[in-house]
Every structure is written in C-alpha cells, then in structure tokens.
C-alpha cells in the first residue's frame, strides 16, 4: 500500500464540476480524500451539501462509486457496504462515509454509534462547517457558542449551548482510531487518512471545513481560517489511537481570538465579555484535554 502524502497524491481528479460555492472547505476535503483513496473507494454521502452539489441529474460530479444515504443512515449504509465487501472477500476497497456536522452530531448520531459498535472496516469523515448549510444555515449541535445562524441570533441573546465533542463520543465507543483535522493542515489530514485506512475496524475523522456562504467570510479565507482556528486553540488537532489520545499541536500560547473571529460575519455580534467567555471556555477545554492525555498515556493498560 502506497503511503498517502501531499507528494504522493495522484493527478487524477474524482470530484470535479460540482456545484458547491466558491471556496467550499467541505468539497476540498472530499476532493483530497478521493484523490488519496483512488477510484476503488466506495463513498456514502447523506443528505447535505455534498450530495446536493455532487449529484445533480444528469450530472455526476464524483468519479467513484457513490451513493446518497438517508439523512440518519450514513453509518448503517456504511456498515452494510463494508459487510458485503468482507463477504465477497475484497480487501482493496476503502468504504468511506462523508457526512456533515448535522448528519453526524444530530441526525445520524445513533447510526454512527451503531456503525462504530459493529466494528466493520469503515472510515467515517465528518466535515464540520458548524451548521446546516445546505438548507439555509440553521444551527446544529456542532455550531460553536456565539455564532450567528438563521435560527440562533448572535450577541447577548446568543444560544447558550456549546459545541458537541464528537471526538470524545467516538473515542468512548472504544474504536481503534479517531482524529480531528483541519482544512488548513492538509499534510496532517492526509497522514490521519492514511492511518485510518490501515486500521482494521472503524475509524472516525472530524475535519474542520469553513463555509464562506454560511460564515460570511471571504471565499479565499477557507484555508487561513483552517489554520487560525488551530493557532487560537479553538480546534485542537487530536489523535485517538488504540486507547491513547495525542495532542498533535499544543501551542505554548494561543493566538488572539480576533484573528479567527474577525473575518467572519457570524461572530460580528459578539461583545467583549462574550469573547472573554469563549477564551475561558477554550482554556477549560485545554486543561481537560491535557488531563485526558496524561491519563491515557500513563494508564497501566497502555
């Protein structure tokens, strides 16, 4: 098996001509994934942006076998395909699910949980654009605190809920591999995809994917936001590998939150005290993360 890296990516394109908005982070991740896994891979996409922009009759923007799953059934369809491939004795077909944050954290959560429990060899990629973008930017449970969507105002009346921690949910199933990645760090993402491909069992990747239309940022800000969300500490790059959590990038000090928040219209209503609250929440998350890392690396089982 050839190692996946930026240098080894083939020239072949398997996701061209889709109808996504300019600068779409999700479609960039899907394009990398298909380039890396090649034409043998089978991909399952639930209702959401990627199915809306990829499969417009009579057009088929994907160059691999792909099917649309019901919104709540990505995990179930994935384990079905994986079971058939196992029964037929095929070993060279990666089975990949590519769902948005709504289809993963809200609607498809029970199905994902079932798929992780069945231990079939699947790769589940959640591209997180932090709201239901396809239907018009409604709040999902992966929307960060303080972000404006069409169903949650920003400012002092902002919705109090914070982002659902999908990595911990996946890790709690005791699966072999789960990781977070960002569109701003392609080398890191491709390394994690390579690792996920070699795992015999389910793996879960949670990838940060900016949406210029929904977030009110410039179309060319996608990759820059993908980097600043990591340097500000709001999106830790993590890797859960056989019971151990590793923090891939642990900054000594965080970049000011404004570098991430200011280019986006969805955070424009935030007031100074709310930004401070966001920073405090981030610091608490990191304390918990570091404790989790110590706890798993020093464990007697490790």
């Amino acid at each position: 098996m050839k190692k996946i890296s930026i240098k080894m990516l083939p020239d072949d394109e398997y996701f061209v001509g889709h109808k996504g908005c300019g600068g779409c982070g999700g479609s960039l991740i899907l394009r990398w994934t298909l380039k890396a896994l090649g034409e043998r891979c089978h991909i399952v996409i639930p209702a959401g942006c990627m199915s809306a922009i990829g499969f417009i009759y009579p057009q088929m923007a994907l160059g691999v076998n792909a099917m649309i799953a019901p919104f709540a059934a990505t995990g179930a369809v994935l384990s079905g395909i994986a079971a058939v491939i196992r029964a037929k004795g095929l070993t060279d077909i990666p089975v990949v699910g590519f769902a948005g944050d709504g289809a993963t954290a809200d609607i498809g959560l029970q199905s994902l949980s079932g798929a992780l429990d069945r231990r079939e060899k699947i790769i589940y990629i959640c591209y997180d654009n932090e709201a239901y973008m396809n239907t018009g930017i409604q709040r999902s449970s992966a929307t960060p605190q303080g972000a404006r969507t069409t169903t949650s105002p920003s400012g002092q009346t902002a919705f109090a809920g914070s982002k659902k921690d999908l990595l911990r949910i996946a890790a709690a199933h005791g699966i072999p591999y789960a990781a977070t990645a960002s569109v701003g760090h392609p080398a890191d993402f491709l390394r994690k995809l390579d690792r996920a491909r070699q795992i015999d069992g389910p793996s879960f990747l949670h990838v940060f994917a900016p949406c210029p239309t929904g977030w009110g940022c410039a179309t060319d800000a996608t990759t820059e936001l993908g980097r600043s969300v990591v340097t500000t500490g709001l999106w830790p790059l993590l890797e859960w590998d056989h019971g151990k959590i590793r923090i891939n990038q642990a900054p000594h000090s965080f970049a000011p939150l404004a570098t991430y928040l200011a280019p986006q219209a969805r955070f424009r209503g935030l007031e100074a005290n709310q930004i401070e609250a966001l920073a405090a929440e981030r610091d608490r998350t990191w304390v918990a993360l570091r404790a989790w890392e110590r706890e798993t690396t020093n464990s007697v089982l490790a």
């Binding site: 001509g17 889709h18 600068g23 009579p58 057009q59």
Partner: protein
C-alpha cells in the same frame, strides 16, 4: 502515472449534451456513469486567476488547494486553470507562496 488520454474512460470530464428537446436524450441515470459532467461552471466566476509562469517553481500548492480541481499541469509542468471549472474563489492566489497568482476581474481578461 496514467495520463488522461491513456485512460479509456477518464474520471470526471465534460460530456455536454443538449438540454430540453426531449427526455430521450437525457441519460437513464447519473449513477450509470460516474464522473459524468453535463454542465460547465464557466458562468459562476467574476474573478479569474492569472498565473505568472516565469517565476513558478511548480510547488503544486495551487493544485492542492483548489476546491474545484480546476488547476492541472501543462506539458511543461506549469499550472493551468481550466476554463470550465474555475469559480474564481481566489484560494490559489492566497496560497501561492510566491504570490504569482493575481485575481483579475473576469471582464478584463
């Protein structure tokens, strides 16, 4: 590495057909033919990436960061933008480490 012309059925390329007239000329189902592209995205953009080739060292970052897969190599391994798929988002211009890509208005091309 296989070149597009060596592949009998290359993935994802434009196969335009006349819309409207009669249902009979529409393909039976999109999944019968993966990578079947009927319509170009040409009309989507209002900016166009103009690449300065002289100083380009073919680092391939513009190819990597194009969400459309619209940039490919020419025979001299220099990046060319495909008219049909570029949406003018400007990510290639932002990511070029040498700032060789200028986004110019589509009307001034």
């Amino acid at each position: 590495m296989k070149k597009p012309e060596e592949v009998s059925n290359p993935p994802c390329h434009l196969r335009p057909f006349k819309r409207s007239t009669s249902l009979a000329i529409w393909p039976n189902s999109p999944q019968a033919d993966s990578g079947h592209l009927a319509f170009s995205n040409k009309d989507w953009r209002n900016m166009w990436p103009q690449i300065e080739w002289q100083a380009c060292n073919s680092c391939s970052l513009c190819l990597l960061f194009c969400p459309e897969g619209a940039i490919s190599w020419n025979a001299n391994r220099l990046p060319i933008v495909q008219e049909d798929w570029c949406k003018g988002c400007g990510l290639c211009a932002r990511e070029c480490p040498k700032n060789l890509i200028a986004m110019i208005p589509q009307t001034h091309r």
